[in-house]
């Protein structure tokens, strides 16, 4: 009843090709943006803003980056956290070494440096494919973290290895409250998600997908393999780099190599798979699910403790959480291998007909 597109006629190509061709989608998106930009910072409490929503947005951006590379261009990568680390450390160094560096500029520099690293580690993709490439990208993960740990320049020769991120400021407004950090993250993520959405509708995006679906066929119809694959690596790493910079500056408040270990790469990969490979919306759904799920488990175990009136040992709880988390991932893959985005799509199809069965 509500979600019906009957009567919405398109009379120009521009109308036909817009991002949200259905009126209800446009309204829904606008409402969502208003809630995210206005209602949440006004009414959300500190804990939610700083510990859940900000990391969710940052990780959604990283997932988006990985999605461009793996979901759209089909190049499996396990080095996401390394690109994020490059972004974080280069943003830190940009702030440190360039006087009057605006914070957004530092993020961009972090992203560009990550893109450069991505280009270098993308080179093997011209020759290596599939799972071999995935393992090869692990080289990037380990090498980058090693270099950051070993070369003092990155951490400004700090002895502890944990550096406090610089104060952020935009046009004189200090960004130091959770709400301000959240808004900054949200703005960057929103702009970059829009850019990604448009990129995937463009010729470049279609070239990515052609390479993913069958690279030999793509090269036969004249898609330049080298340019396309390297571009995918560069753009994806740029997204990951910016996400890494924001992970350090807006969420952790510190810049440290330990934040970007292999586990993070896997988590981002999980987010992409659970959300749906090859879907912008899926990046957000997956990131939301993986960020919220451990918190939900934690709450559940807390309430279980209260209900039973006993103290469960920490090891027991964390191990059980790991088991449930892993089992749920497997369950999800079995039930819906195309991810949450696919569920959303099915839901929309159903909603179109509702309340009639056909």
């Amino acid at each position: 009843m509500l979600y019906r597109e009957a009567g919405q006629f398109k009379s120009t190509y521009a109308q036909d090709q817009q991002i949200f061709p259905i009126l209800q989608d446009r309204i829904g998106m606008a409402v969502l943006l208003v809630i995210a930009f206005v209602a949440v910072p006004l009414f959300g409490d500190q804990y939610w803003l700083s510990a859940i929503l900000t990391p969710f947005l940052v990780l959604a951006l990283a997932t988006l980056g990985l999605n461009i590379l793996t979901g759209y261009a089909g190049q499996l990568s396990l080095g996401t956290a390394a690109f994020m680390a490059v972004g974080a450390f280069m943003a830190y160094n940009a702030m440190l070494r360039i006087p009057h560096m605006p914070i957004l500029g530092a993020f961009a520099i972090g992203g560009l440096c990550a893109a450069a690293v991505g280009l270098v580690f993308g080179l093997p993709s011209l020759r290596i494919k599939g799972l071999y490439l995935a393992v090869a990208t692990l080289a990037c993960q380990f090498f980058v973290l090693w270099a950051i740990n070993r070369i003092g320049w990155f951490s400004n020769h700090s002895s502890s290895g944990v550096i406090t991120a610089q104060r952020m400021e935009i046009l004189g407004y200090p960004i130091d409250t959770p709400a301000a950090k959240y808004l900054l993250t949200l703005s960057v993520v929103a702009v970059m998600a829009l850019a990604a959405k448009n990129l995937m509708r463009s010729e470049t995006g279609h070239a990515f997908m052609a390479v993913r679906d069958m690279d030999v066929a793509a090269s036969v119809i004249g898609i330049p393999m080298m340019k396309t694959k390297l571009l995918a690596f560069a753009i994806s790493s740029f997204y990951c780099g910016v996400a890494g910079a924001m992970y350090a500056f807006c969420y952790l408040g510190t810049v440290e190599p330990e934040a970007f270990v292999l586990d993070l790469s896997f988590r981002v990969l999980f987010m992409m798979i659970i959300g749906g490979a090859g879907s912008i919306l899926g990046s957000f759904l997956g990131a939301g699910f993986i960020t919220l799920f451990p918190i939900f488990l934690n709450l559940a175990s807390k309430s279980l403790e209260n209900a039973l009136g006993i103290e469960l040992s920490h090891a027991l709880v964390s191990n059980t959480e790991a088991v449930i988390f892993g089992a749920l991932i497997i369950f999800f893959l079995i039930v819906e291998p195309y991810g949450l985005a696919r569920l959303w799509q099915i839901g929309k199809e159903k909603l179109r007909l509702w309340p009639f069965p056909h």
């Binding site: 793996t70 499996l76 093997p124 020759r127 290596i128 494919k129 599939g130 799972l131 071999y132 995935a134 393992v135 090869a136 692990l138 080289a139 380990f142 090498f143 973290l145 090693w146 740990n149 070993r150 069958m214 690279d215 030999v216 066929a217 036969v220 292999l262 896997f266 990969l269 999980f270 798979i273 490979a277 090891a315 027991l316 191990n319 059980t320 959480e321 790991a322 088991v323 988390f325 892993g326 089992a327 749920l328 991932i329 497997i330 893959l333 079995i334 291998p337």
Partner: protein, 297 residues
């Protein structure tokens, strides 16, 4: 020169240890095309179960037998619950499922046996062989030699199993082509269950060796990461590749650590193996012994 030989031999023998883990990957990948990231957790699970049974005063052979049975059952259970519903999914989905499986396995094994590290003794001391160090001044660990011997026996057993038995022929047929194997009446799912059981057995062997070397602790799960470069170097489908790859990686890694490490600040073993493997891959993109990939549209 003696020192060089010592480092080289030590590297080769360390490489054998990597091969032990890599073998488990290869067996599963060959037969089902699943890149089993959970192999490291299987190794951990096996070692932890075995050592915990020992510490409860079990006889060593009984503990071994029970652990073996547990691994075989576990392997079949994984096949039944995780992989069978995922037949025909893209490789990345299967990979993710096995990563999910690592969480489950690590959680379960620590729930069952606790998370504190254990020492493990098999009766072969991890000390240099005396006459070698007396005569040539070369230190080669006795235990490393033992591990190499075990790996040799394991490969021989696997070779006999895959080349000479009825099951082995079925295994190779399935590895070659799932559909053709099904068409000639080979029960695919039995074969997969067997493959996972064998992988569980290999994990047990690897777990024992690594357990003696580094103690049975959570870090054992990272042996999988050590085995990955071995795997891409040797090729995902080749048992011989796993061994040769292990030897190359082990030797070059140790040599690089000793001769190259001091110039770049040390600690290069975390990534050097991957770079070696990458260089090999640039020449042969499917690994040294992997099946040639033929692109068709």
């Amino acid at each position: 020169m003696n020192f060089f030989i010592e480092v080289f031999v030590g590297g080769l023998l360390a490489g054998v240890m990597y091969s032990l883990v890599a073998l488990g990957f290869v067996i599963i990948f060959k037969a089902s095309g699943v890149f089993n990231f959970a192999q490291g957790s299987l190794v951990f699970f096996a070692a932890l179960t075995f050592v915990s049974l020992l510490e409860r005063g079990w006889n060593i052979w009984l503990a071994l037998a029970v652990t073996l049975v547990a691994m075989v059952v576990l392997g079949m259970l994984i096949e039944r619950t995780v992989l069978r519903p995922l037949v025909n999914q893209p490789p990345i989905t299967l990979l993710m499922a096995t990563i999910g499986l690592t969480f489950v396995l690590e959680g379960v094994s620590q729930l069952m046996w606790g998370s504190q590290p254990h020492g493990l003794e098999l009766g072969i001391p991890d000390v240099p062989i005396e006459w070698l160090s007396d005569k040539w001044n070369i230190n080669v660990s006795q235990f490393d030699l033992f591990a190499a011997f075990v790996a040799g026996v394991l490969v021989a057993v696997l070779a006999v199993l895959t080349q000479k038995t009825r099951i082995g022929r079925a295994l190779r047929a399935v590895a070659d082509d799932h559909q053709a194997a099904l068409a000639v009446g080979i029960p695919l799912q039995h074969i997969w269950a067997i493959v996972w059981a064998v992988a569980g057995f290999v994990a047990l062997v690897a777990g024992l060796m690594w357990g003696v070397r580094n103690g049975v602790q959570y870090a054992l799960t990272f042996t999988a990461l050590k085995a990955l470069p071995v795997l891409i170097l040797g090729g995902f489908e080749s048992i011989a590749g796993a061994i040769v790859g292990g030897l190359i990686i082990g030797a070059s890694e140790k040599l690089a650590e000793v001769y190259l490490g001091p110039y770049v600040g040390g600690g290069i073993e975390s990534w050097f193996a991957y770079v070696v493997a990458l260089l090999f891959l640039l020449v042969r993109p499917e690994g040294l012994f992997g099946e040639k990939i033929i692109d068709r549209v």
